[in-house]
Symmetry: C2
Subunit: 261 residues, 2 copies
DNA sequence: CGTTAGATGTCGGTT
DNA sequence: AACCGACGTCTAACG
């Protein structure tokens, strides 16, 4: 672990140059800088942040993050793929993170640096997550009675002219039934999404009585209005109740995820 | 600045307890922990992350972030509003970040801690950004000829039955014209959004010939199909060319944002 | 507080 | 590379 406290511009430059080289060579490594700095961004938009103290994170994959004392999202950033460059301009240390496509640049001008830290962080593990929409889709595919009795699913995630729909099959009376699944509250947007899939099917097959069902733990009032207007249906389903079934389907890294204290 | 290297569980517990108290009292403060740890999450979904080294960030507003050596997004997190709690369980230090609504918990079990750091970061500045959709909307409101010659905008961001639309006015021939503005490529979703606004207006006013135009730097092929099908229009507009005008409208913190090296 | 829509969204999958 | 949709999205604005 490398650590420098209150370095001047020259010292910090040396530190950064060394660590940036190390970053490029070693994957599991992380550079943290706490500093009083000003930040400019130019790319898809443009921004300016006047002097203040922030935490900067530089990752070996070219990720750059600037965090303040509040909020979950960084105030400035660069996604993976950026290249870092450090130099001294007018006695001030300047760090740039450049991303070629789309062409974007974040430029940090340092006024005072509290601390620079570089640490190796080795991590071979991948996050395993249960409860995504894909899990719910699979659950409904395997337990179609949760959609409605007699539902026979045919396909999952098929490309249609206007996008993808989650589930596609036939109801008890042989009518085509398109299902849109949402893990959270479904709003107008989601209702519209279902309509987008059903509309062309009905146009194609005017006598077929194509049905569309939106399944979510909650469907917002305006979404219901839209569904009604277009002859679509919805069903509220509490995933909490069905999640245990999902977990039985796909064990999370062989480790149960029961309630923990 | 507080710093502890390679603390044992008891030392780290003391450090964390002290710093968590300080966090609650002092707004501009940040705690960083680099550690080998396992992480469980339970809430809207559930996740499990096996032992590995990560960087943890604890912010005074109750934000919690867990970063690995790659990616811009934290592998686990808690948005502002969480409360932290540290204790020792079975000789292992455990940190929890609890969020009441929705009820979610992130639980970190430490196996080895490389370093704990707590720093004050004072930052009174706010980010000023140019190039948001709102900026573009304002630009078109003030320069309606960019939409089309003869366009007279009436309102911005009005609530309609089915949501908000960006601009609303009359074209050269007195027909109602609804404009949807996008800062990036417009896809099917955005085309559908425009249709959502125009559809009820046309139903309300069948003879009015209500027009809808989607304005974006680029409109995807499928989006064009949908627009054509519904008698809607689009116009591709390069914001790069018009951004200078936006900046003239709203100076970014009184500081020009010209191209910088 | 719920609802809505934007975001420099980021990210992963598929054509 | 472009396109598309999910995300534990987060976040601000508004009723």
């Amino acid at each position: 672990m490398q650590l420098v406290r209150d370095p001047d511009a020259a010292t910090a430059l040396t530190f950064l140059r060394e660590e940036l080289t190390a970053l490029r060579e070693e994957k599991g490594r992380l550079v943290q800088v706490v500093a009083d700095c000003a930040i400019q961004y130019q790319g898809r938009a443009r921004s300016m942040l006047h002097r203040g103290e922030r935490l900067l994170l530089l990752k070996p994959d070219g990720t750059f993050l600037v965090h303040t004392a509040t909020k979950a999202k960084p105030v400035n950033w660069q996604p993976p793929g950026a290249t870092f460059h450090a130099e001294v301009e007018d006695d001030l240390l300047v760090l740039t993170a450049y991303r070629p496509k789309p062409e974007e640049i974040v430029k940090v001008t340092f006024h005072a640096i509290s601390v620079c830290i570089a640490v190796p962080i080795r991590d071979a593990e991948e996050l395993s997550l249960v409860g995504s929409e894909d899990d719910l889709q699979e659950l409904l595919f395997r337990h179609p009675e949760l959609v409605e009795p007699g539902f026979v699913p045919r396909r999952r995630e098929r490309d249609s002219k206007r996008g993808f729909y989650d589930l596609d099959g036939d109801d008890a009376e042989g009518r085509r039934l398109v299902v849109e699944v949402k893990r959270g509250t479904a709003g107008v947007k989601e209702a519209q999404q279902l309509w987008r899939y059903v509309e062309p099917l009905r146009a194609q097959n005017p006598d077929g009585g194509v049905r569309g069902v939106l399944i979510a733990p909650r469907v917002a009032p305006k979404a219901r209005d839209l569904l009604r207007d277009h002859g679509l249906e919805w069903k509220e389903l509490d995933w909490e109740e069905v999640l245990p079934k999902v977990e039985r389907l796909r064990r999370v890294g062989q480790v149960g995820l029961g309630t923990f204290s």
